[in-house]
Amino acid sequence: MSSATPSRSATARRSDFRYKAALNLRSVFGRAYPRVIGANREPSWIFFEVFLPLLGIAAYVFIYQAFYNAQVALIQAGQCGSAACASPADQLAHLKAAAANLNALVGTVVLGGTMVAFWLNVLWSMASQLYWEKEIGNLQIYMMAPMSRMALLAGMAIGGMFMTSVRAIATLVAGILVFGVIFQVANPLLLLAVFFVTLIALYGMGMLFASLYLLWGREAWNLSALLEEPIFFSSGMYFPAGGFLMVQPWGPAVAVAGSLVPAMLGLDALRQLTLPGYTLPTVLPPGTELEILLGLTVLFLVLARFALAHLETLAKREGKLTSRHQ
């Protein structure tokens, strides 16, 4: 008996906090590492992730530009809104208002474009990732490893945020340099708080989805594809989400449903905080939006924790944890 003791103590499960914390931190770092380093080893990634998505954003910018041109042509022809221009000063005021609206709308698209990058990353590199790992045979190795599954997801999230930040920053820079958007930050602390809380809430949602996807087969991939355009729409990625409140009777219902995805409230707050003299329709004041986002963050992280444990057990029971191509 005594000869077996050293061997057992060497392999026994350690449960002290310090050991567990170090193990999980190493897991977070280990899972984030390939996303940060591996992605940068693939040069084509820079082109596809940074440069080409700007074109999609440019299309929406040019739509607003086209309508702005039509509006300016009407004003120059003497039509100020629904009535004729009362005087040259009235005409000039309308032209200035149209230009200010254009800046706000283009800024809206640029900020939406940055959020689209994060949302796509959440969908394809967070939510779908465990499903993808299952498909390529890595999931069983993760499941056998001693770290917390949440540490694994946190590593994916941190790596994903880094990867996506490059694209998001490129979009912002292009917005300023190419499209001439003027950003003005009046409350930087609130802006930072909104930005980071939105990201954590978004990736928390991604963690929740990842656990749901664990149980699903090919539906997972299709669900991710389905959550692109409808979420771009319901979150107001390319237009002010407050516009929903102007469309009766279904608009407010879409706004309420859309606010479940943190991108909508986060974007609305970011737009109000960065675009000077923002006169476009809004959903709520930024402070209130931050409070709701904090609530969503806690909710998604807690739900992800429980869903992951529950669905892992369920997937094991139904024999779906390692089933591929179904």
Partner: protein, 290 residues
């Protein structure tokens, strides 16, 4: 020829099964409709907000954007349908080595796999156009006179053929790429979205970018489709803006036919080159799973 046809048929059937058999047919139909309708609604909301904030209306421009967006559904799905084949077989299903060594034309196989996506896209385009004409208020003024049907069908066939050729050209490049299908699916159509006058007239672009748009055959396809579908009142407003008013319908059809031949030849060349380089570098069945 018989082998080509058999490969095409089986690949088309396989593509359809892979696209649709993950769920019930009714759910698949809803899935196929929701995405394009949501994309359309983005534009509708953009217009509503702009019109409300600016207190003006620009109906013909909205109709232009709406029809262009509906036809753009073909672009996204056809391109994705072609260039995702290699990566999904290689990285996801890991079956590419078995298909590749079978005695078939891999080019024809990729072509066949894309067909199911085109059929689903056609369904979504019809739904989107019908939604604009029948449900949306104010309605998009769409009509297709009987006399215009042959030109419309010819333009549609040539436009789709050209798209397939462009898709396979890109597919040839994916032989050498890591798994970036999703980024590619989002990014490449973005080029056409901006430069082909899909959502806004070419005249909105800076001069040199208008030249880029005129060099892409899809620009002419969108222009001709809109000419045939939109009302003459809309045409009168839009003609000076598009920059293509000087070309007759038949001239545009000629451009499309010529472009189809050129892109078909290009797709053959790039596909073969990509295949050759991938074989040489040992990348035909690589997996890139970070």
């Amino acid at each position: 020829m018989n082998t080509y046809w058999r490969t095409f048929k089986v690949a088309a059937w396989l593509g359809w099964e892979m696209d649709s058999n993950w769920t019930e047919p009714w759910l698949f139909i809803i899935y196929s409709i929701i995405k394009p309708i949501a994309a359309t609604f983005i534009l509708v909301l953009m217009y509503i907000i702009l019109a409300a904030v600016g207190n003006f209306s620009a109906g013909p421009l909205f109709d232009f954007m709406y029809v262009g967006n509906a036809f753009f559904i073909f672009v996204g799905t056809t391109l994705f349908g072609t260039f995702q084949v290699i990566q999904s077989d290689r990285e996801w299903y890991q079956t590419i080595r078995y298909i590749y060594i079978s005695p078939i034309s891999f080019y024809v196989y990729v072509l066949g796999r894309a067909i199911s996506k085109i059929l689903v896209a056609a369904f979504a385009v019809v739904i989107t156009l019908a939604f604009g004409a029948l449900v949306l208020r104010p309605a998009v003024e769409i009509s297709l006179p009987l006399a215009s049907v042959p030109v419309f069908v010819a333009a549609l066939a040539l436009g789709l053929f050209c798209l397939l050729a462009i898709g396979i050209t890109l597919g040839g490049m994916t032989f050498l790429m890591a798994r970036h299908t999703q980024s590619l699916a989002e990014a490449v159509p973005g080029i056409f979205y901006v430069f082909c006058g899909v959502l806004f007239p070419l005249s909105v672009l800076p001069g040199w970018l208008q030249g880029v748009g005129r060099a892409i055959p899809l620009t002419y396809w969108f222009e001709l489709s809109r000419r045939l579908l939109l009302s003459s009142a809309d045409q009168a407003v839009l003609a000076p803006l598009t920059g293509l008013g000087g070309f007759s319908d038949l001239t545009i059809l000629g451009f499309l036919a010529l472009s189809s031949v050129v892109f078909f030849a290009l797709s053959l060349g790039v596909f073969k080159l990509g295949e050759y380089l991938a074989r040489k570098a040992g990348k035909i069945d690589m997996t890139t799973s970070y």
